[in-house]
Assembly symmetry: C2
């Protein structure tokens, strides 16, 4: 709809970045080389998809306590869209390399870095910089992969399953016979929530998802509603008392609705604010508006109604609040569940680094079922004509600058 | 300070009620009689202590599903002060008999009332009407007492321990190594919280209480602070990261302070609003002011900080939200802990029904350590001169009407 307004500074950064970008991966050293450079997705400035480029960056080297990982796959999360728009709290200054999780092979370790050896297959959280061929991150954020887990699965595992587990079992206290409502049931966290709920006897899962996903995810939840339906009424028809746990990544008016749907002693958990991402362009005002539009909660009302409201941000927990030990203990439990074949990450599609824009558009359009993965070794799929049948529900995809072929639609590689 | 403004209607009710009141208990039939009347504490209208009388009321008879209890002891809670002032949400219309819990002996049961027999020693929740010689309440709210529990202990047990248990283990998820801060650590709930925390290994309890209670309760908590101290600073000196669970019965500005003291993933629970009781008189405006003064919470802030805020009202859970089954399962666990001698209610003092004003003043002044009990069979202690050394911290005790001897201080019977 509205075209993006690029200010002078951002435009300058964009121009500077453009001259180092290369679509031709072959002139960058491969996994076995000792190159001084690597490929990475770079966000030149906050804004639309056209702020994303694949560029060469200096090869990072591990500091004390860090692990250097030759990346195989990276996870793409809704939060990456928030970062791109600059509407995240205290964003770092661009240009930056986005991405918070990856999987790969340990290439070297810094001084005083224990527990990992060269060649270990690992998955890791990274405080930005994950969408690159090589990543260095503190050892506290690195976990060994099970032998039978693929790199794509590993990149789809950590953030979604740790978040889902901690919300259900650390923040709330999911037990036998309870009920859980999850928005975006077809997304990465939604699918993780559904699987984890199935590890507890007799848990009812109410899922909300776009109609076109229903066939694919119907078996993962107990009841499924269209995201355009009045889910409050639909849930109350089935469970007049409401639900025990409600997981909301939308925010906005859903908070009040969510609280109204809670049973006494029920817990509402806000774990994202995807309603804040209203279009493709940076929109500080839409962020500010959302912040104020969120219904603030009077604790006395919670007292009268016996309700619990919680917020959960795994990245803040890891990178600002230092809860690596707790997260590692959760990861240990999750890997046991994986090895018992009780949980398995759902991968929606794999994309080359150069296809990051199309991947982002797909997550923005809520077209995915499960996780989108950037596959570092994948070559871009040949460009298609831009008459894609994919529809943008938001309807707000900006037009890319003319002549920028990156904006053309590609066929996603569906896993 | 300010004298109470009694409106005409209340004054009329007061006069009507006065002619049936009797201090002389002997002309009312005793426990074994088949009298048509019984003694009860009656609140003639919302307001100060002078609204309370001991009056004769018609003998209640059990309806279908109800148990009739010959009351031995009643629990007095801070909430009863809130009721007296009329600042509770949706109060019933006075005149009413206050009181939410009692212990005694089953005298008869209504039709279709299973599980109890005449002569059973029981404790019970009652939706008002507990402060009387005889009480009828639905069987769902009645629990058998252990043989070795006294009636005074039983009247001190149910509300405080069930509330403390549910907050620690149902709303929050108290586990080994966590820390808990409790306001009013010397009160009934505070002492129950401290005892229940000691059933979990390595739990640190921060208690806040008036200085004069410190000697008596020091052993029940790990760290003890004066209620006039800056407890936020004091706790942070010991635990810079804050606490895992914070239990607040004060409300007002403590909510913001409490949230700031939480560790990531910590839970703040509001379970009362005693700061709303500012003086002895009914004060709708102080209630409204408190309601608005309570800092409302933005869910996005909870998201960024990984925090949980909850409200807990056991009476709403029981009487409005029908969670009797859950409460009974909690009571079963608590009675096992009692029989294992891991918990034991702390009784502050016993008072005759006629001494309810002095008892209320004591709880208002926060003079109690543990629970105040109305002992139905106790005779009033001889009146003392009103030069009591008890001090009113609130400093707002109204003057009683001249010639009303009930307002004179009595010596509390310390248990």
């Amino acid at each position: 709809m509205a075209k993006e307004g690029v200010d002078m500074t951002e435009e300058t950064e964009f121009m500077i970045d453009r001259h180092v970008q290369g679509r031709d991966a072959e002139n960058v050293a491969g996994p076995c080389g000792d190159a001084k450079e690597m490929r990475a997705v770079v966000l030149a400035g906050f804004g639309g998809l056209n702020k994303l480029r694949v560029s060469r960056k200096p090869m990072p080297e591990p500091q004390e306590g860090e692990v250097k990982i030759r990346v195989k796959a990276c996870g793409l999360n809704f939060l990456d869209l928030v970062v791109r728009q600059g509407t995240i709290d205290n964003p770092p200054k661009p240009p930056l390399v986005p991405g918070f999780e990856c999987s790969g092979i340990v290439e070297s370790v810094g001084e005083n870095t224990k527990g990992f050896e060269i060649g270990d297959r690992v998955m890791a959280f990274v405080n930005y910089n994950a969408w690159a061929e090589v990543v260095c991150t503190p050892v506290d954020f690195v976990y060994k992969m099970p032998d039978n887990m693929s790199f794509a699965e590993a990149a789809a595992f950590a953030l979604n399953f740790v978040a889902a587990y901690m919300m259900l079992f650390e923040v709330a206290n999911l037990r036998e016979g309870m009920s859980v409502l999850v928005h975006s049931a077809g997304g990465g966290v939604g699918q993780a929530v559904a699987q984890l709920c199935s590890t507890v006897p007799n848990v009812t899962v109410f899922g909300i998802a776009s109609c076109f996903k229903h066939a694919a995810i119907r078996d993962s939840v107990t009841h499924l509603f269209d995201r355009n339906a009045d889910y409050v009424q639909e849930v109350k028809k089935i469970s007049p008392e409401g639900v025990d746990i409600l997981l909301d990544c939308l925010c906005g008016e859903n908070t009040g609705k969510g609280l109204s749907l809670l049973k006494p002693l029920g817990t509402y958990i806000l774990y994202g604010a995807s309603n804040m991402v209203t279009g493709e362009t940076k929109s500080f005002f839409s962020f500010a508006k959302s912040w104020w539009q969120v219904e603030k909660v009077n604790p006395i009302k919670l007292y009268e109604e016996n309700k619990v409201i919680a917020g959960f941000s795994l990245l803040n927990l890891l990178f600002k609040q230092g809860r690596c030990g707790l997260v590692r203990s959760v990861m240990d439990k999750l890997l046991r569940l994986y090895e018992q074949k009780k949980i398995k990450p759902v991968v929606d599609s794999l994309w080359a680094l150069e296809e990051v824009k199309e991947a982002m558009q797909r997550i923005h359009d809520r077209g995915n079922i499960g996780k989108l993965i950037l596959d570092v070794e994948k070559s871009p799929t040949p460009l298609m004509a831009s008459d894609s049948t994919e529809t943008s529900e938001a309807g707000e995809e900006e037009e890319e600058p003319e002549g920028d072929n990156d904006s053309k639609e590609r066929m996603p590689f569906i896993h």
